[in-house]
């Protein structure tokens, strides 16, 4: 039942929210060359950090259409192998914890658009084809998707056939000689991009590494306010062994007794507004470190981890959503959905 609620403002959206996007025909199109005015690293962009964005409205709970699906079994006798809830009651998503059809029925009527940012700079442009092709097969099937490919060489980005309701935009950015620079700039670029464009075009945003492929369905079970993914290398070790930044001088410093999970920098996302707050926060930390002449142990992944301790994610993806194929797959991980491509990292980063 959709009940109009007059006189109540706040997070309840107008049901008459008009979408002014038009559905583009299914092909890749190249953005007009944006003149990216590059701001020196040590000067934050004043207009970005003061602006509040006008987002698409928050949606009230929509009724789910009646349907057949099995009754949830409250008294589970079989031991579940993975933790399914964090101590702050955020779901940990893995195969078997959710009903894909039910979730699809809940999310489909919301007419959501999901954005994806990937950075293909220098030699990394060679991964775009495989990434996009696998995404076309497995990522958010049945939803509107908008890929944002950031690159220093738009001519190197191949044209990939996209399904209906799915777009790609190629956005030129400045390249750098050091791969660490490229990696660390991503937070700044993503937050700027949200301000300039993305907040008008998408509802949810995922920020993914490009040197990966989708191997199995990645669907609306991953949608949440602020979503993090557990790093495949550290899900079974105690927090003292997490590769946090351990130098107190850095803003990404994490003390010995802190930390929930070690999250991977290759996958994070959420509602556009939350991703904006998150990337902006990380970027401020990176700027402060730059001013103090320090770079965190794992670049922006360290800052991401620091921020996820104080701003806990509302949903956590199990290592099924961020896997390293070089590792043997443990039996507790039933379905690997997104994993690394075998590659020569030293050559790529040269």
């Amino acid at each position: 039942m959709n009940i109009p609620v007059p006189g109540m403002n706040g997070c309840m959206a107008n049901d008459s929210l008009q979408k002014t996007r038009r559905l583009c025909p299914p092909r890749v199109y190249v953005e007009n060359w944006l003149s990216v005015s590059y701001v020196p690293y040590y000067l934050p962009c004043p207009e970005i950090f003061n602006m509040k964005l006008q987002y698409k409205g928050e949606k009230p709970f929509q009724p789910v259409t009646p349907s057949q699906y099995p009754q949830p079994k409250l008294l589970e006798q079989k031991p579940t192998e993975l933790l399914t809830l964090t101590p702050w009651l955020a779901p940990i998503v893995s195969e078997g914890t959710f009903d894909p059809e039910l979730l699809h029925r809940i999310y489909q009527p919301l007419n959501l658009t999901v954005g994806v940012t990937v950075f293909a700079v220098g030699k990394y442009t060679q991964f775009v084809q495989h990434f996009l092709e696998s995404a076309e097969q497995f990522f958010m099937q049945g939803f509107r998707v908008h890929y944002y490919v950031f690159t220093n060489d738009p001519t190197a980005i191949p044209r990939v056939r996209l399904g209906s309701g799915r777009l790609a935009s190629i956005i030129p950015i400045q390249g750098h000689s050091r791969w660490e620079e490229i990696s660390t700039r991503r937070m700044e670029t993503i937050s700027q991009h949200i301000v300039e464009r993305a907040h008008r075009e998408i509802d949810y945003l995922f920020c993914l590494d490009v040197d990966m492929v989708f191997r199995n369905p990645w669907g609306p079970e991953t949608l949440g306010d602020l979503v993090a993914a557990i790093h495949p290398g550290y899900f079974a070790v105690p927090r003292q062994q997490f590769p946090y930044e351990r130098r107190p001088l850095s803003t990404a410093f994490v003390a010995g007794g802190e930390g929930d999970f070690y999250y991977g920098g290759a996958v994070f996302g959420g509602r556009v507004a939350r991703v904006y707050d998150f990337t902006r926060g990380c970027h401020m930390g990176i700027l402060a470190d730059k001013a103090n002449g320090i770079m965190a142990a794992w670049q922006e992944e360290s800052h991401l981890n620091r921020r996820f301790i104080s701003h806990k994610p509302s949903k956590v993806l199990s290592p099924e959503y961020l896997w390293d194929d070089r590792k043997p797959q443990p039996p507790s991980l039933k379905l690997i959905r997104f994993s690394t491509l075998d590659k020569d990292t030293d050559w790529l980063r040269s």
């Binding site: 006189g7 403002n9 706040g10 006008q54 709970f61 009646p66 009903d99 806990k312």
Partner: protein, 348 residues
């Protein structure tokens, strides 16, 4: 150099030029106008954000805390389901860490609605006293006591940040009507005052007492509680309303859980929607000459089937020790029935 000479003609000329340049910069800065617009929207959004409930508005920041780390390969409970297939946590003891949650939910005010009509005022004293010990301790609480006898509301010593608000309402002859009209009254007051006063609403039965911690782990945009009599059962055995004529009708092959009418809640806008929908459904039923088998509870179940709650509370949060033997999977009993003589207390 003579100071007066400094402010000579050429300096004035350069100053004017600089000013002109600055003005032009202002004009051509494309963002100025939109920044001003956005600042206006910012003010508007800030005032509306005060009404926003935590869950969708921002990711709450927590200070440095010390707590044991969760282990991905060691689930906290293996004897029960802790998450529904639509990702709503099912709250059992051991699944949550109050230290983190209290930090995430600091600075919120929780409204508790309870109805003490006719003879039910006798339950208020024990209800409020135990609530002071166990309900949302450390957070701001407004007890909204709906009653037809304001003079009979007991004076209970309250902790800091907590207050009792007595709301005078009418009574009804039949206890079923008293129960059902709670929906109408909550929806009216949600719009009139709760929206401005509290972030979350918790709607409870009064003939109960708190016996263990009930805290912010329950708070979500919309939550329901598993009825203690049906948590084991199959959906066919749930006492849903089964007559298609009623608005509360649920077919035999549908249903997730049987939710209890005595403990539900959520953010004020969502509780408003729920109570309004249930009230309208009950009015429609009345017009059609039908009354759902379990009254407001039947309508609540229909609503929560089609508007899935974002959290579900386990039977720890609503139990009756006198009617049910306590199973080992219930490690705590937090909110329990107070024995009453049904015939005595109703309809007088």
């Amino acid at each position: 150099m003579d100071p007066r000479e400094f402010w000579g003609k050429s300096t004035k000329f350069w100053l004017c030029l600089i000013l002109l340049f600055a003005v032009l910069l202002g004009f051509y800065s494309q963002d100025t106008h939109s920044v001003v617009l956005q600042r206006m929207q910012l003010e508007k959004k800030e005032s509306s954000e005060r009404d926003c409930h935590l869950d969708t508005c921002r990711i709450p920041e927590v200070p440095r805390l010390v707590y044991p780390k969760a282990q991905l390969l060691k689930p906290t409970r293996v004897d029960v389901l802790v998450m529904t297939p639509w990702f709503a946590p099912i709250i059992w003891d051991g699944t949550f860490d109050s230290a983190i949650l209290d930090a995430q939910f600091r600075n919120i005010t929780v409204g508790l609605t309870v109805f003490a009509i006719k003879k039910y005022v006798v339950f208020l004293k024990l209800f409020l006293e135990t609530a002071e010990k166990h309900f949302m301790v450390g957070h701001k609480v407004n007890y909204y006591v709906f009653t037809d006898q304001p003079a009979n509301v007991p004076q209970i010593p309250l902790q800091e940040g907590r207050q009792v608000v007595v709301l005078e309402v009418r009574n009804y002859k039949r206890w079923q009507d008293i129960s059902m009209h709670r929906m109408e009254m909550i929806s009216n007051f949600s719009q009139q005052r709760f929206l401005r006063e509290v972030h979350y609403l918790v709607c409870l039965d009064v003939d109960m007492k708190f016996s263990d911690h009930v805290g912010v782990e329950i708070l979500a945009p919309l939550f329901g509680t598993l009825h203690p009599g049906f948590y084991r059962g199959d959906r066919q055995s749930f006492t849903y309303e089964r007559r298609p004529l009623s608005q509360a009708y649920i077919p035999r092959d549908e249903g997730d859980f049987y939710y209890a009418g005595g403990f539900f809640g959520g953010s004020v806008p969502e509780v408003y929607r729920l109570t309004m929908a249930c009230h309208q459904a009950m009015m429609a039923d009345q017009a059609n000459g039908i009354e759902a088998v379990w009254h407001d509870e039947s309508h609540l179940n229909r609503y929560l089937l089609y508007h899935k709650p974002s959290k579900v509370l386990s039977p720890e949060y609503l139990w009756d020790e006198h009617m049910l033997r306590r199973p080992p999977l219930l490690r705590k009993l937090r909110y329990v029935a107070v024995p009453k003589n049904h015939a005595e207390i109703r309809n007088r």
